[in-house]
């Protein structure tokens, strides 16, 4: 007897609906599987057979043929276990075929029949809804992420037995079925909340970071060891605007594909903060593997990518950032196809001014002029070009550290950021832009017009400071954000003036 069960699969970050066909016929007993299958999928045969046996179902000695379509897409992962098992059961006549109509089934089987979590449930369920399916059966551990998608019936199952029970019920009983999910425990005791209130002094850095957050500008902090660069960076997500639902889904999808969505209660509500160690490889940064997993830059999508000690990163790894910084996505080509992962992150980089860290304090710094230059040059020009704001983090005075001062909290800073964000939303309502930092070429002139006096002022500054043409656009974008924070419609000299102070040191000095 022949039967067909729907399932879903992911290809990069895209998902598609696949189907599992099973035919049971007389002949030499056997279990054949076809359909361009990867190793894990082939091994499903053993898992399904044993899991069925341990659930108390005997497979008769017949010839079973399993075909997973579309046949030209390579199948990876263990999420086909459950649909294969269900399809076999239907083909053997244990479950009526109409019970699985318009139902997408995914899940990995344990030998004892339990169902384990799989990757990419969120995008698959979303795809199922788009394809007009009515129901999704997913591992109970993935229920939270699957349940984010509304207008589709999501059922979480813990074991093969439970799946069979569910499928063999009447339609009425099914409507009443409720997935029993344990509520995430960690809601009560959240991890220590970071707050800018913990940060004493550092007014200049605070301000720079606020501007960066308001316009989603990439920022570089330069300072001696112990100047609190890391401390500042870790607090940046606390002043970024909240994720919108759409953004949240994007981020959750990436985490779902990476299999990192457990324990977050389904949806990613916080902006991600990623701080990879400087020994990170190119593959880990951009996404790697035969079928690439999302890399760190994709996991930082819509959030903060913090590169501490930036010059210590492998040059080849840093160069990878070029395309994502420009296109907001990363394109990875492999034998099995090319994959595009979103990578729209805010780059926060920190570095020492020289190898010993104390330049330009010549009493402490022992580096030669060349060493200082070489250190700066470890970061290539194209990368520095894409960073809008540079700020010096000074060494912190011990008195400042111990002082009991009232510092501005993240909430206060965020309020201002949100106001600036709102102004940007109004400005860009007819375009695809979201933040000032994204503006390109001619659009800069359109959205950030300068009046005659300001134009002249800019010319003066340029001649005086010997700035490059590239810095010009960066400067105007930053000035636009400063004006937004200021609640001003026009960019004034004051805004431009402040933006000039956040320029990159030209020529590495």
């Amino acid at each position: 007897m022949y039967c067909k069960v729907l399932t879903g699969a992911i290809n990069g970050i895209e998902s598609y609906i696949a189907s599992v066909e099973v035919d049971v016929s007389t002949g030499l007993p056997g279990f054949e599987m076809v359909g361009l299958l990867g190793h894990e999928v082939r091994e499903a045969r053993e898992r399904v057979k044993v899991a069925l046996k341990n659930t108390g179902i005997q497979i008769p000695a017949t010839k079973i043929t399993v075909s997973i379509t579309p046949a030209d897409m390579r199948k990876e992962g263990a999420a086909y276990d459950l649909p294969i098992a269900v399809a076999v059961l239907i083909a053997l006549g244990n479950i009526p075929m109409e019970y699985v109509e318009d139902t997408v089934i995914i899940g990995e089987l344990g030998l004892n029949g339990e169902i384990r979590s799989v990757k990419g449930v969120l995008p698959i369920v979303r795809k199922a809804k788009e394809a007009g399916c009515k129901r999704c059966i997913v591992p109970i551990l993935n229920y939270a992420e699957a349940a984010i998608i509304e207008e589709i019936d999501v059922v979480g199952v813990a074991s093969l037995e439970e799946t069979i029970t569910y499928l063999t019920q009447t339609e009425e009983q099914r409507m009443k079925w409720e997935t029993m999910v344990e509520k995430p425990q960690n809601d009560g005791k959240q991890e220590m909340e970071l707050d800018f209130a913990d940060l004493n002094g550092q007014e200049g850095v605070r301000r720079a970071v606020e501007i960066a957050a308001a316009g989603f500008h990439h920022i570089l902090m330069v300072g001696p060891p112990g100047s609190g660069k890391t401390m500042v960076a870790k607090r940046i997500p606390t002043i970024l605007p909240d994720l919108t639902m759409e953004e949240s889904l994007e981020v959750s999808t990436i985490y779902s594909v990476a299999g990192m969505l457990h324990g977050s209660g389904g949806l990613m509500k916080k902006r991600p903060f990623l701080d990879p160690h400087h020994t990170i490889s190119e593959q880990a940064l951009a996404g790697g593997g035969r079928i690439p997993k999302p890399g760190v830059i994709s996991l930082a999508h819509r959030g903060v990518l913090f590169l501490d000690e930036m010059p210590e990163f492998r040059r080849s790894a840093l160069e990878i950032l070029r395309q994502p910084l420009e296109d907001k996505r990363v394109h990875i080509a492999r034998t099995y196809g090319s994959f595009i992962y979103p990578a729209d992150f805010m780059l926060v980089a920190a570095m020492n001014p020289c190898p010993c860290g104390y330049f330009p304090d010549r009493n402490r710094c022992t580096c030669s002029e060349n060493e200082v230059k070489r250190y700066m040059h470890k970061i290539s020009g194209p990368i520095l070009d894409r960073i809008d704001i540079a700020i010096e983090a000074p060494k912190v005075d011990i008195r400042q550290l111990s002082a009991q001062t009232q510092n501005e909290s993240s909430a206060q800073m965020k309020e201002r950021v949100m106001e600036a964000r709102a102004r940007q939303e109004v400005r860009f309502k007819d375009s695809s832009y979201r933040f000032n930092s994204e503006l390109k070429g001619a659009d800069i002139r359109e959205y950030c017009p300068l009046e005659q006096a300001e134009q002249e002022f800019m010319e003066q500054v340029f001649n005086r400071m010997n700035l490059s043409a590239r810095s010009y656009h960066k400067l105007i974008k930053v000035a636009r954000t400063i004006a937004d924070l200021d609640g001003a419609d026009k960019i004034t000299q004051a805004h431009l003036g402040e933006a000039v102070c956040y320029r990159m040191n030209e020529g590495g000095r």
């Binding site: 030669s368 102070c501 040191n505």
Partner: protein, 367 residues
């Protein structure tokens, strides 16, 4: 024509391996002209310099003719002069260990032109850089030539500033005059050839080795009337140059620094030992009796905004980064916003009062 031939012989002699400078000088003194030295027979050389050197000498004579050696020199664009010749700088003849030959590109310093040698560390502070540029600029603006070693750091900075001011500058190299070291000073080398000269005592092609540098320093100080120490650590090559300058009877001037700055320690120590203090370039001009064409330019009082004024007061003490300035302002109970301080800093920069280097703001002069 006689002159050129003598040059050829001297140059040839200088290329003979294994001869000491003192030997060459003594031979020249004894025989009068380089051609006489070339004509020495093997026995005479054996008698004068010993058997080994005679053998090297004769071998060299067999393989290299004076014309050939001199051709190579010309091909490299180098000029040559030897001790006692007309072109040979008189200042160099005065010193006890005068060089036998001088190779140069560009020109040699004019006989009576006033010269200041500016020396200092390869590693320098921003203060040192500012001072080197300031002094070099003002001195060359007054027609004083700047001599230095074309090295990294203070040397290069001073010479570049001198050339920018349109003055003449001469680089004395430890390597051959055709060997550019450090490579990053290629531009300076080329500029010096046009607007001054590059001078070396070593045979062309000589690679820069550490041992050659102290010797080159004696030429720097000898060619100058005044040796100006810009910045020096407690122990540095600068002190060797200063010692030589004193032996040669040159005036030593020192730019004073703060007591706590490691890079000014050597300078202040020299001052303590009785060196002249050069607080302004005009000090040197006046003391040496060189006319001062520019006169002491007092900066006109520039009108500043309130913020800029208070920032100036803070920067007077030491250069600071933006955040450090903020901290200082808070200590003094100012409540300017960050954006206002940025304005003030930009104003100072635009008016040429302050400069940002490596994230720090430096006051270029006291307002």
């Amino acid at each position: 024509m006689q002159n050129v031939e003598e040059k050829m012989y001297a140059c040839w002699l200088d290329h003979v391996p294994g001869l000491w400078r003192t030997q060459k000088n003594a031979l020249l003194k004894m025989l009068g002209t380089p051609s006489e030295m070339y004509k020495l027979s093997e026995n005479e050389i054996k008698h004068l310099l010993g058997r080994d050197k005679a053998e090297i000498w004769m071998n060299f004579k067999k393989e290299n003719s004076p014309q050939k050696v001199y051709e190579v020199l010309k091909r490299e664009g180098l000029s040559y002069t030897y001790y006692g010749e007309n072109e040979f700088p008189k200042k160099l003849m005065e010193i006890p260990d005068a060089p036998f030959s001088i190779y140069y590109k560009g020109s040699l310093p004019e006989e009576n032109a006033p010269m200041v040698a500016m020396i200092g560390a390869r590693r320098y502070s921003e203060y040192g850089r500012c001072m080197a540029e300031y002094f070099a600029d003002r001195l060359s603006g007054n027609g004083i030539g700047i001599i230095s070693g074309m090295a990294m750091g203070i040397d290069g900075i001073s010479q570049r500033a001198a050339l920018r001011a349109g003055g003449r500058s001469y680089g004395v190299l430890g390597s051959g005059a055709d060997v550019i070291y450090p490579n990053s000073n290629k531009d300076l080398y080329d500029a010096l050839c046009l607007q001054g000269g590059v001078i070396s005592e070593s045979v062309p092609g000589t690679q820069p080795i550490a041992a050659l540098f102290p010797q080159r320093n004696r030429i720097i100080s000898a060619l100058a009337d005044v040796v100006l120490v810009v910045e020096a650590r407690e122990k540095s090559g600068t002190s060797i140059t200063v010692d030589m300058a004193l032996e040669q009877g040159r005036e030593v001037y020192v730019i004073p620094g703060r007591c706590t700055d490691a890079l000014s320690y050597g300078c202040n120590k020299l001052l303590r030992q009785g060196a002249n203090a050069a607080v302004t370039p005009e000090d040197i001009l006046e003391d040496m009796g060189w006319q001062n064409s520019g006169g002491v330019k007092r900066q006109k009082k520039i009108k500043l905004t309130e913020v800029a004024e208070s920032i100036c007061k803070i920067l007077e003490v030491t250069p600071k980064t933006q955040d450090e300035i903020l901290i200082e302002l808070r200590k003094r109970k100012y409540t300017y916003l960050v954006s206002e301080v940025c304005q003030g800093l930009l104003e100072l920069e635009m008016k040429g009062i302050a400069e940002r280097i490596g994230g720090q703001y430096h006051l270029l002069y006291v307002v």
